[in-house]
């Protein structure tokens, strides 16, 4: 599996660390149910999934990837935006 980094192009999967599904984090005071859902519950699709990868052994970027979990085909890839940091940092 090769992952497309918007800065470095298509690179070996070994260069990346997986963070998991890209989800919008609830606000701090949104309550236990919202946080339970955010931390634990997953759509877990067999098909396209939005997820975070970290190009740890490359340029160091956080990348939002759209990947088909059945075929492993990369459908889209974009650099994380500053506002993603709330929900996406490891």
């Amino acid at each position: 599996m090769r992952i497309t980094c918007p800065l470095c192009g298509e690179r070996d999967r070994r260069e990346f660390t997986y963070r998991g599904a890209a989800l919008d984090a609830p606000a701090a005071d949104d309550g236990a149910e919202a946080w339970h859902s955010h931390v634990h519950l997953r759509q877990n699709p067999a098909g396209p999934l939005e997820e975070w990868w970290h190009h740890q052994q490359g340029c160091g970027s956080w990348i939002r990837v759209r990947r088909d979990t059945v075929s492993h085909v990369m459908l889209a890839s974009a650099l994380a935006k500053p506002e993603d940091a709330d929900g996406g940092s490891a």
Partner: protein, 459 residues
């Protein structure tokens, strides 16, 4: 669908066999029901029978189970004909007398993870919740072949969890004490004792020297396909309909109660619907509008060409998570970590292949001489704490058995028995009372054996 080859198992004839025979005749109505021989006698496996068949050209073996069409209604349907679904059906029939039930399998019986795993059976978990459950399961394994009258090639060859340093030894001792407290066997072997038993390991590797091992003698392996077939045959003999090529595409509910399922072979009504779909749990639960605390990942396994006996036990290597055993055909069967990203591809990627081979070379360099024959992958239903769920759902009559991660094969008999107990009595079985769905929400009773934290992508 029939199983080739004779299975040897001798056991005294018991009364239920005759009952099963009558059920088989009644349900099938043909001259030769599945599971019976040419004379209509229940096809019990025994040494005597193997001999007789051997002398008569093996013409007397019939199919091991019927291939019925689905009925319009059952008392209960089970979604998923893997090890857990089939075991659940068997124990519903055996322990609770529920025989008007069906197992609905979208492919063929045993085509999922039950036929893809590395077949390790053990009871060396240590957190409350898991501990009593796997202890119970190992006891069921010990009587399973007699119970099912099926040779599952259960082999209690012992498991050796090798450790490399003081911290790992401390953890092994703690685990061993917990295992002994749960009533099972555990021994700590010194480096010299281990070397005596398994001389062929790389004891003085620079990075991962071997300092000893945790041994559980009652652990071992079982033939995975035969476990599925044995449960299938035994359930079928008790009247359970096993329906293959029957994908569940919808779950019907009415006023918060389950009323049946939609399938590729029509609508089936049932007031009790039990999910046991392993890697596909999220998709099946979504049919009822439920979102589960599960992510699906791929786990790979590998097998070499057949070799002379060289590994007598199951051996695990602490660094790199390698586990290895030798099958009765001689192939070395092994695997290590998950491919650590969400996946429904029943195949993995090369980095984990490479890692696994490196771990083999670190533990036992001689393995490098063996030729790798095959590698494959299976879809693992991973929960945040790495432990399973056997529970009710918010929908009345709909039950959930999921989240077995990479360790559900050893659980097969107990999972089936405990799930059947919950379904039939409405109360959790004592051995599985910790497998609650709400533990993630409440934070109570989490079972994070690896102590990495109860979050996804950490196990």
């Amino acid at each position: 669908m029939s199983v080739k080859g004779a299975q040897t198992q001798s056991a005294p004839l018991r009364s239920w066999d005759w009952k099963a025979w009558r059920i088989a005749v009644r349900l099938n109505g043909t001259i030769r029901p599945a599971g019976t021989d040419a004379l209509g006698v229940v096809m019990r496996f025994s040494g005597w029978r193997v001999l007789r068949e051997g002398l008569s050209g093996n013409r007397g073996w019939g199919p091991h189970w019927r291939d019925p069409d689905p009925k319009a209604e059952y008392d209960a349907v089970i979604i998923g004909g893997g090890g857990h679904g089939l075991a659940t059906a068997y124990y519903l029939a055996k322990d609770h007398g529920m025989t008007n039930i069906a197992v609905l399998e979208r492919g063929y019986l045993g085509g999922g993870n039950v036929g893809r795993n590395t077949t390790i059976v053990r009871a060396n978990y240590y957190l409350p919740g898991n501990s009593e459950f796997y202890s119970h399961s190992l006891k069921l394994w010990e009587g399973l072949e007699q119970d099912l009258n099926y040779n599952a090639m259960m082999s209690q060859r012992g498991i050796l969890n090798v450790f490399h340093n003081d911290a790992q030894r401390d953890a092994a001792v703690r685990r061993a004490n917990a295992i002994i407290n749960q009533g099972d066997d555990a021994e700590i072997l010194t480096r010299a004792q281990l070397r005596d038993m398994v001389p062929q390991l790389n004891y003085d590797g620079n990075r991962f020297p071997i300092q000893g091992a945790l041994l559980q003698r009652r652990a071992g392996t079982a033939r995975h396909d035969a476990v599925a077939w044995g449960f299938a045959r035994a359930a079928d003999l008790r009247g359970v309909d096993l329906i293959q090529n029957c994908e569940v595409t919808g779950i019907r509910t009415e006023g918060g109660r389950v009323t049946g399922v939609e399938t590729g072979r029509g609508t089936i009504r049932a007031k009790t619907v039990a999910m046991a779909a392993a890697g596909r749990s999220s998709q099946v639960a979504a049919l009822a509008g439920l979102t589960l605390p599960i992510e699906s990942y791929v786990l790979q396994a590998f097998v070499t060409e057949g070799l002379k006996p060289i590994i007598d036990h199951v051996i695990t290597f602490a660094e790199g998570h390698l586990y290895i055993s030798q099958s009765d055909k001689g192939g070395l069967v092994f695997g290590s970590y998950l491919d650590l990203y969400a996946s429904y591809a029943a195949r993995g990627n090369l980095p984990m292949v490479e890692h696994t081979m490196e771990a083999c070379m670190a533990m036992m360099p001689a393995i490098g001489k063996a030729k790798l024959l095959r590698g494959w992958g299976g879809i693992m239903d991973m929960t945040p704490d790495g432990s399973p769920i056997i529970d009710r759902t918010p929908i009345e009559g709909l039950y959930l058995n999921a989240g077995w991660c990479y360790g559900g094969f050893k659980a097969t008999p107990a999972s089936g028995q405990c799930y059947a107990h919950l379904i039939a009595t409405g109360r959790p079985h004592d051995a599985a009372a910790g497998f609650r769905l709400d533990r993630f929400e409440t934070g109570r009773g989490l079972m994070d054996e690896e102590a990495t934290g109860a979050q996804h992508n950490l196990h």
